[in-house]
Symmetry: C2
Subunit: 192 residues, 2 copies
């Protein structure tokens, strides 16, 4: 756990209701670069011995954290796009993700040339709630026949069980902060 | 101009036709963090004396470059979102951008709390072609009544005239590489 992130959430996060935490001031719409680099440092510390060759994330809010970790782990970042762009051509890995936030299923794609079976992949995202986005990214790593080292999210909503379910399936899930309970009255973080 | 960027474009860029340059290997889908940090260094060098208080960019591909520049200029980055998300509430600045790539007009929004009249804003994006995205971002800076210091794009398609038109209107536009001509046979960069 990254104590500085818990403090930042307590200071700047806005709990809109028991499911939605707004962290637009430093993570989702405004970015605090020195703080996000601190998250990158922590991710690099966790996976330092894992010889990560590629970080996989998903647009949009996962990108800055993945980028910060990539500067520290010294490896390229690949981000899955949520819809096919006219500039994407050739063979792609593809999977589907259901978004509770937007109440729709979207396709995510990564061109095959950017991940291959020799890669040791770390998946990074901003939020982990029900785990659907991570499952979509894990599916892409499987399609690439690459080795999945683990997944790190900045903020895990522990009460939504996506993270715990993935841990039970044997995946290494390291979140920088895990919220076990939240309401406009307060936030309870999971202890180490 | 950043010679290293011109070299990277020559080495890894793929000219699909006379209008479309694919730089997915280091800028648009896979990110080379140390190279993007080099772009951030160059942007910080250009605007070093301008007391930038905020960098404004637009999702998705502008974010890593803006982030790299923000770590060097030591200021927050705000990114305009392309559609209203259910997590965005309250007052927003809003403008419209026509995308030739996707042949549609989309709305871009920035919550008012992230830019105000005391800000000295630097706009950053990945590509500058017809200038529509920059115009949308400039409109947001105007709505905030903030001071626009200038705009920097990584790659300007000089032959599409968006950058030159903005320069003629008095805006400071500093691109890291300007392509005056391109075809599958080769790329000609504008000289300093």
């Amino acid at each position: 756990m990254l104590k500085a992130l818990e403090n930042k959430i307590l200071k700047e996060g806005i709990v809109l209701n028991e499911e939605v935490l707004k962290v637009g001031s430093f993570l989702n719409q405004q970015l605090d670069p020195s703080f996000i680099m601190e998250m990158g440092d922590e991710i690099a510390r966790i996976y330092n011995d894992e010889k990560i060759t590629k970080i996989l994330t998903i647009e949009t809010s996962g990108i800055p954290i993945a980028f910060a970790a990539g500067t520290k782990l010294n490896c390229p970042i690949v981000f899955a796009k949520k819809t096919a762009s006219s500039n994407v051509s050739g063979n792609v890995y593809k999977s589907s993700v259901y978004s509770f936030t937007h109440n729709k299923t979207y396709e995510i794609i990564v061109p095959c040339e950017y991940i291959n079976k020799n890669d040791r992949v770390l998946i990074i995202d901003d939020f982990l709630a029900n785990g659907k986005a991570l499952l979509g990214l894990i599916e892409i790593v499987k399609q690439a026949d690459a080795h999945l080292v683990g997944c790190t999210c900045a903020i895990e909503k522990g009460f939504q069980k996506g993270g715990d379910s993935l841990r039970e399936q044997g995946f290494r899930i390291e979140s920088l902060a895990i919220i076990d309970e939240m309401s406009p009255a307060g936030i309870t973080f999971r202890c180490n």
